[in-house]
């Protein structure tokens, strides 16, 4: 028998552990967080393990990292611990859909992290002081119930807010479903734990805003379609614009390299020389936040140089629709024409007052459905009504955004603008691969009109090999089985109250003013679960300060996050692999016992509910809830019921390779939309919209733009980067990843050689990056691979991993009036050697 030698722990993990409780007391180090033996001596009792004959078990789950990948993982468990997680290997033809990345392997470190929260703890000093006292679950849930009841009685149920994120995407029993794309039409989540409590209490939902400009405006409002990822093989040109598929949309890269090998060209438009840019035929280093100017200059050039696909523009886009002075479409009834009639499958006839176009073939105003040759330009009057085509209105609105204007605004040569316009105007089919890199500026929501307009001009939509959004196409490659049906009955309760949904980017302004939409709106209690707003929402410093004006902040999380540090109470939540749950698509198998006193979110809310007198709120066991959801006759028949998922974790489907699906426009007009009659804001607070908010237009960002008054003090554009090593803050404090993603063990910023020389900075120097909002001190790397006026700042590391400060504190919440987006790159900085 060979003895397993006890291990020496690194000084590194000792330091991390010590940092975590710094400022605390002996009590603090005994309480709460995962302990690491700091003696440097043998840290675990010697265990006898027969070499080569260790009994191991395999479990299946997916990587709950919220990078967008949701990659299936296989875990190996030995002696009650997960000793390995790795992406499930796809065999044969399915190999093309292989998932996983460097992060997935490191899930053991997430489970046995030094910053795990292991016990309920209350802050005994001021918020952020790290003076934690371990308390019992009974005391913790009693405190929460009392705070909730007090706020309800004194300020009403809406004064309690649940702050949601995507930190725990298995959310039937645990976690919280972060996104409400449309705050005005709240969709019930899949989460029983959260949904029942919200409906019972009438609490406010602080809705996630990350990437919401695209998700809401391009997805929900404009309803831009996207083809499946396999169709990438059919393109000639990729314009990678606000995306980094090599790192952040890896399933897309699989297909992009196949297309590239077959001769497709790649052009990357990005302020940074990304890994995708390095693999591209050309890098266009556009200034962040100015992409709209470039898009509209391309549009002007394409129109001026007769590169229009007139057939697409007139028959497949809204270009020929006629608009009146009040921005509404001229409809059949406006011209006393009969409504369109269509017969449904049920035999009933539906009448539609469709938009009207001028049909050149019949020389008459007719429904756009009837016209064979709609005129997209030159129509100024319809039976006495002054009108304009959408195309003409748009061209009038964008006329100032010339090639020369864009070159100046975007900080690139005129030749680059022309080259892009010529390519997009002549090479077809072409994909614009946009992800969420475009949309972290106050003006970003406008880009989705622009992209739809460009696609309408050139016909690069609704055909194979083309598209104007890449969407979630990397999810398309999953080939595991979803349940045949879902029984959602447990998501609804009888005496449900309605909940206000407000974008969390508005939290600071509401707390500061005490008002929302012209009414008093006290925020008294914030319960954060599956979210880390101080780290991941815009302007972490402002959010931290706003907490000071709230009575009670509670964070339920698996790890001690930046936000947890500023809470009054932290609650230990079971990690992925530590409890059984379901995310709507598949089960997450339980592989090991929860660490410390960790519990799933539902068990926490169960106790709080009972102490609030909601005795009838959670009447079933966790297994019973899962069985109600899954044990439908259809699922039992299809092999996708509870017992099937419990046994298999992931249920694989028969794999059939796809050549790619072309998805047509599915909005009410089935035409590419770059115009809206009514602009529907995600938050309604009395704002009004002008003419240029209805169609393509460029206006500069909030703080970060050429000529910004802030630039006099802070001339450098700050920008983050979605690389392969981070996913929000979910892989922070991960020593295995640090070996690959750090500069000598530390987080770093990047700046251009010229900016560095002007400031006497060399690679490896410690620098302070600052502005009026905040500062961060960290290592610097000097590179030619970034715009000279732009600096990269890392995202994903927690505050205690920096020498000082926090990059998130350089930002300011600046939600736009339409989408309330998290505009996290809209800031300027200065850098100096520390």
């Amino acid at each position: 028998m060979k003895k397993l030698k006890a291990r020496k722990l690194s000084r590194r993990s000792f330091l991390k552990s010590a940092t975590l409780v710094a400022g605390g007391t002996a009590l603090a180090s005994a309480a709460g967080c995962a302990s690491v033996d700091t003696s440097g001596e043998e840290s675990s009792p010697e265990a006898e393990v027969p070499a080569g004959k260790v009994e191991v078990k395999k479990y299946y789950n997916y990587c709950r990292g919220n990078c967008g990948g949701s990659c299936p993982l296989e875990a190996t468990v030995a002696d009650g611990k997960i000793v390995r997680t790795k992406p499930v290997s796809f065999e044969g033809e399915a190999q093309v859909y292989q998932q996983g990345c460097i992060k997935g392997h490191t899930n053991p470190l997430r489970l046995y992290a030094t910053n795990r929260i292991l016990h309920p703890m209350k802050q005994t000093g001021e918020r952020g002081s790290d003076n934690w006292e371990e308390i019992s679950w009974d005391e913790a849930t009693t405190i929460i119930a009392e705070k909730f009841k007090k706020a309800q009685a004194e300020y009403g149920p809406a004064s309690i807010g649940f702050w949601q994120g995507s930190g725990n995407t298995a959310n039937l029993l645990g976690g919280f479903d972060g996104y409400q794309f449309d705050n005005n039409n709240r969709a019930p989540s899949t989460g029983i734990a959260q949904e029942r409590f919200l409906a019972k209490s009438g609490a406010t939902i602080w809705s996630a805003c990350h990437d919401i400009a695209q998700l809401y405006f391009q997805g929900t409002v404009l309803q831009a379609p996207y083809n499946s990822v396999e169709d990438f093989l059919n393109t000639k040109l990729f314009l990678v614009w606000g995306a980094n598929p090599t790192d952040a949309r890896r399933s897309q890269w699989t297909y992009m390299i196949k297309a590239k090998d077959a001769g497709a060209k790649i052009i990357t438009i990005d302020p940074q020389f990304t890994n995708t840019a390095a693999h591209s035929d050309k890098w266009v280093p556009v200034r962040g936040g100015t992409d709209g100017a470039l898009m509209l200059a391309m549009a002007n050039y394409i129109v001026d140089h007769d590169m229009i696909d007139e057939k697409y523009l007139s028959t497949k886009s809204v270009a020929p629709f006629l608009i009146k002075d009040d921005m509404s479409y001229v409809r059949l009834s406006d011209l006393d024409l009969e409504p369109d009639k269509s017969k449904g499958a049920d035999g009933n006839v539906t009448e539609t007052d469709s938009p009207v176009v001028w049909d050149e073939d019949t020389e008459s105003f007719v429904s756009h459905l009837a016209a064979t040759k709609p005129a997209y330009t030159g129509i100024t009057e319809a039976k006495g009504i002054q009108v304009q085509t959408v195309f003409d209105a748009t061209m009038e609105e964008i006329k100032d955004f010339t090639v020369e204007y864009a070159a100046e605004e975007c900080g690139i040569p005129v030749d680059d603008v022309v080259e892009l316009a010529e390519l997009y105007g002549t090479v077809k089919p072409c994909y614009i691969i946009n992800s969420w890199g475009l949309e972290h500026y106050y003006n970003s929501w406008r880009l989705y009109y622009d992209l739809a307009f460009l696609a309408s001009l050139t016909g690069n939509a609704q055909i194979s090999g083309a598209g104007y959004q890449a969407g979630f196409s990397d999810f398309a490659c999953s080939h595991w089985a979803s349940p045949a049906t879902i029984n959602r009955e447990d998501l609804f309760i009888e005496d449900a109250q309605s909940c206000k949904v407000i974008s969390s980017e508005r939290f600071v302004e509401i707390v500061e003013s005490g008002k929302w939409a012209g009414e008093d709106f006290p925020v008294r209690v914030v319960y954060i679960a599956g979210a880390n707003p101080v780290h991941s929402c815009c302007g972490g410093g402002y959010i931290r300060d706003a907490f000071d004006k709230v009575d009670f902040v509670c964070v339920a999380d698996t790890w001690m996050t930046d936000s947890a540090r500023y809470a009054d109470l932290v609650l230990p939540v079971a990690a992925s692999w530590e409890n059984e749950d379901f995310n709507g698509g598949w089960m997450t198998q339980k592989a090991v016992e929860p660490a410390g006193e960790c519990r799933p979110d539902i068990d926490i809310l169960r106790d709080v509910a009972s102490k609030m007198g909601y005795d009838d709120l959670y009447t079933k066991t966790n297994e019973e809830y899962l069985r109600t959801l899954l044990d439908t006759p259809e699922n039992i028949e299809a092999g996708t019921a509870y017992d099937d998922y419990k046994a298999q974790g992931i249920i694989w489907k028969n794999f059939t390779p796809s050549d790619g699906n072309v998805v047509p426009e599915y909005n009410q007009y089935q035409r590419t939309q770059f115009y809206l009659e009514v602009v529907p804001p995600r938050d309604i607070y009395g704002q009004t919209f002008g003419r240029h908010d209805h169609m393509p237009f460029y206006e500069h960002a909030y703080e970060a733009y050429p000529g910004s008054p802030v630039a006099e003090k802070y001339p450098l554009f700050g920008i983050s980067y979605h690389d392969n090593y981070q996913a929000q803050s979910l892989f922070a404090h991960n020593a295995w990843l640090d070996e690959f993603r750090s500069y000598e063990g530390e987080p770093f910023m990047r700046l251009h050689t010229q900016a560095a020389e002007e400031r006497g900075i060399k690679t490896g120097d410690t620098v302070r990056v600052f502005n009026d909002h905040g500062s961060v001190t960290l290592k610097a790397i000097v590179t030619e691979g970034i715009r000279p006026d732009t600096v990269f700042l890392p995202h994903g590391w927690q505050g205690d991993e920096f020498i000082d400060g926090h990059p998130q504190f350089l930002q300011v919440p600046c939600p736009d009036p339409v989408t309330s987006n998290n505009n996290c790159n809209d800031y300027l900085v200065e850098v100096q050697k520390a």
């Binding site: 291990r7 033996d37 840290s43 030995a78 790795k86 390095a278 070996e739 500069y743 590179t783 691979g785």
Partner: protein, 208 residues
């Protein structure tokens, strides 16, 4: 019995130095802190993920670096105790830490810098992880890529090969014309790292 000559073909045109293969290797072998048998690399600037050239005309390349399992390995020649040797049946360069005396001659001899002296191994986790059937790491020995010889002997794929999503790495028998690696070499222009050293690596890189 026909002989096997295991080799690898890397494709820098697909590789993004994402490190998934390197992390798979690290986790499989439970290597001590900062010890990697396989490293993702970028070419261009002095620091990882920085390019060569002058803005905006810059370039950067990608590959991974581990033991080249050379035909004429410099390490084997200099090992005084026979701890490093080419396995007869398949040409894998073995490093046997039971025999190794930690003299570091092989580190000095290897032109690729892919061998690590394990002086005082430390780990983040306080229990063994990865493939628990592998031999334990020993102090004062030299380690390197094993070509996952244990996995190969069990009929499995090397850990790094299993996880690459981008067809950026392939392995197989270079002496078998029907193997994936032989076909790649036959249909692409390939190169070996530091071919002037005369080591004749069995790891080939497809030319950019």
């Amino acid at each position: 019995m026909s002989m096997t000559r295991y080799g690898m073909v890397l494709n820098p045109n697909h590789c993004v130095a994402c490190g998934s293969c390197a992390m798979a290797c690290k986790c499989e072998h439970d290597t001590p802190n900062s010890v990697h048998y396989l490293e993702p690399k970028t070419t261009g600037g002095d620091v990882m993920f920085t390019p060569a050239g002058t803005y905006p005309d810059v370039t950067m390349g990608f590959y991974t670096l581990g033991c080249q399992h050379c035909e004429n390995p410099a390490c084997v020649e200099v090992c005084p105790v026979g701890a490093t040797y080419k396995r007869e049946e398949d040409g894998i360069v073995i490093q046997d830490t039971e025999i190794c005396i930690g003299c570091k001659s092989c580190i000095a001899a290897c032109p690729y810098g892919v061998r690590t002296y394990i002086e005082d191994p430390q780990w983040v986790l306080d229990f063994r992880s990865g493939d628990l059937s592998l031999p334990e790491h020993k102090e004062a020995t030299v380690e390197k890529c094993t070509f996952c010889v244990d996995r190969i002997d069990r009929g499995e794929t090397p850990a790094c090969m299993e996880v690459c999503r981008f067809d950026a790495r392939a392995w197989g028998d270079l002496d078998d014309p029907d193997s994936e690696v032989s076909k790649l070499i036959a249909t692409h222009e390939v190169e070996q790292l530091l071919s002037e050293q005369g080591t004749n690596p069995n790891v080939y890189l497809i030319k950019a």
